[in-house]
Symmetry: C2
Subunit: 406 residues, 2 copies
């Protein structure tokens, strides 16, 4: 089902990171569902997490641990989100970290837990503990792709990518993986994403880079307007290359690295949309020349969240009146509709608020039938711009989400 997306053939290993996976039987039969990622001593780690107020126990604990120590291990399970599980859920998250810490002889706060899957059910701690016992024996550097598969839930394929760049003669590698296809409208990060590099980066700068790059990538995607309880995006720098420490965004090396990082994060974030639940279209919605960034953002999400826009996209039906409806219903202070121009790919739909003279139904049909669509709204009333990526609303979306838990 994924739109213009294939499983990566390989993800490059990062020196200083080992990954193990195991089939613990938490929910799915016959597939890996737990991952342990361990970092070399001295690695720096930054994280951004969901802002859902009912955030999961592992999210609460991971944030707390990250504020206390630089992590040595990340423990991830799929099939159960350990969210809405109350005190018992928090006890289970702590016990999971404690089991890892004991094996690695590190502090409890040096282990971060992550869970994804069904909300509102307790984890089976027997299965989790047995999984942990196996994981600590089997870490390998070249294991990212198995991990990308183990963290999947309704994803149809493993998603990840690598970048290499040369800074001052030194080859730097960045590798990332992500899972997520529904309950996607991140507000800091999306479901679970892990990105690592062998560059050496100061932990404060790493956090700055992560927040800036996630704002340009994961915070601009939406499948269904639903913000998960479990979103987390982690960025790790192992410092295993000989390149000097990056400590400020002003350094040329930091700029070069940041460009690659942002490009990788956009690739991962858009991969989530290409693999969105039931998606048959990959859609970019761009709002140009608005009064303010907030106005542009509001209109972009009003369109990207509209069930009627999304079902028209699914139908490949050039029912563009629904685009106008979704612009017009957006809660922005003032909007002069007589200035607005709307295009789909290169085809004009509206100019100066009037139906475009050169539009034909046949031309509209031809564009709406494409898999990849860009909708551009030129407000012509300011200089602010915003864009989001989204998917369509299909029968498969309903099937996947009506059948997912049962």
């Amino acid at each position: 089902m994924a739109v213009g997306l294939n499983k990566p053939s390989r993800l490059l290993p990062i020196e200083g990171i080992k990954i193990a996976t195991v089939a613990a039987g938490i929910r799915y039969p016959d597939r890996d569902d737990m991952v342990l990622m361990t970092m070399v001593d001295g690695a720096t780690t930054a994280g951004v997490f969901t802002q859902n107020k009912f955030c999961a126990a592992p999210v609460t604990l991971a944030k707390q641990h990250l504020s206390q120590s630089m992590p040595r291990a990340l423990l991830i399970n799929s099939g159960n989100a350990n969210a809405g599980t109350g005190i018992q859920g928090m006890d289970n998250a702590v016990a999971s970290c404690a089991a890892v810490a004991k094996k690695f002889n590190c502090k409890l706060s040096e282990v971060l837990p992550f869970s994804t899957g069904v909300i509102g059910e307790q984890l089976s701690m027997d299965k989790l503990q047995a999984g942990i016992a196996s994981l600590v024996e089997n870490g390998r550097q070249d294991n990212w792709l198995s991990a990308a598969e183990a963290i999947m839930t309704t994803d149809t394929l493993a998603k990840g990518s690598s970048r290499q760049l040369i800074i001052n003669g030194e080859t730097i590698t960045i590798t990332g993986m992500v899972k997520g296809s529904g309950m996607i409208n991140p507000n800091m990060a999306t479901l679970l994403a892990y990105v690592a590099t062998d560059a050496c980066i100061d932990s404060q700068l790493l956090q700055v880079m992560l927040e800036k790059s996630s704002a340009a990538s994961f915070n601009r995607i939406t499948v269904d307007s639903d913000t998960s309880t479990n979103d987390a995006l982690m960025l790790i720098a192992t410092g295993k290359t000989k390149l000097a420490l990056m400590s400020s965004m002003d350094e040329p090396a930091s700029q070069l690295f940041y460009e690659s990082l942002e490009s990788l994060l956009i690739e991962l974030a858009t991969a989530v949309i290409r693999d969105a639940e039931g998606a048959t279209k990959f859609v970019k919605v761009t709002i140009k020349n608005g009064h303010s960034l907030a106005d542009c953002e509001t209109i972009a999400y009003s369109m990207a969240h509209s069930p009627l826009v999304k079902t028209a996209l699914f139908a490949s039906d050039p029912n563009w009146g629904r685009l106008l409806m979704a612009i017009g219903k957006a809660d922005v202070r003032s909007l002069d509709v007589s200035k607005i121009a709307v295009k789909i790919n290169d085809l004009n739909l509206l100019k100066n608020g009037e139906p475009a003279n050169d539009y034909t139904e046949a031309a509209g049909q031809a564009v709406f039938q494409q898999d990849e669509i860009e909708i551009t709204v030129d407000l012509n009333q300011g200089d602010a711009n915003y864009h989001v990526w989204t998917s369509d609303l299909s029968h498969d979306y309903v099937s996947i989400n009506a059948d997912y838990r049962s």
Copy 2:
């Protein structure tokens, strides 16, 4: 498909109002698609309209005419919304009103136009003019039910209701009809609704009553979060009963009348939800004891608009973790989740932010399988309350909206 709703067997006539319908062939074969409602001289009329900034030409014109004169005639067509149609669309709306005004020898501004259907296509004026010629000959008092059928688009049945009450020994009748089942998240009114009474009510008071009662009814329903370009709700008082003029909400007669009016509008608004596109569930979401009305409203709509909540409802799956997700993602300033209690009908899901001890999967399944569901969220952090009515998200919703125009 409608949930707990049947076509009314009869709608009571209102003295002073005549209604004609005709099959003009605007879009649908073999059914009426135009309505002309004419009011006796001296009738007062109030209206509320969509706040969509791309509002349709007939909405713009109806608002303008209503500000100039008390209307003598309402001209309604289904099958074409005359929205997103630019200058040509406005010319067509004016020409339609002019044709009616000429036949009735009244002012142009005494005719209000209303359209509903596909957005972005021009009306066929030949068909409309022929329809008008037939309509002006055939007005009858006892014709509300035919009109309720003629204004339908994706509605599965005609929706309307009547009330009678006795004030100071005089029998007052109120009759209303409504159409709408998709693109429903009204922001002043829903698609098209017409309510009339033979009471005598001052026009300013009529507007006050309409705004207050629509806030309690039509502004609290949502099918898909999409606010139509064409919403309009009209309230007409013909003054044909002998009861004295109502001119202030403080009068006992006004209070009695208002209670009946609000009850009728809630019945009509919830009928739209019962007949929502693809609906298999009728759902009331109540948020209690919040910090503020705005907080309660934000959380209520966050739940009612969530595709994941709506697909779980469709599946009759007690996947209540999604309810917590939708509460937690709501953009409210502060929320102490440890105080929150959640119930579905009488079954406790959450107490003090913890999973309820007495909840069982079997009990959850039994409640989610019902056609009519009430979700109650007690925030326990203030004294504000809000509720909305909504429907589920089914395969039929996708089919109806992917197939509607093509």
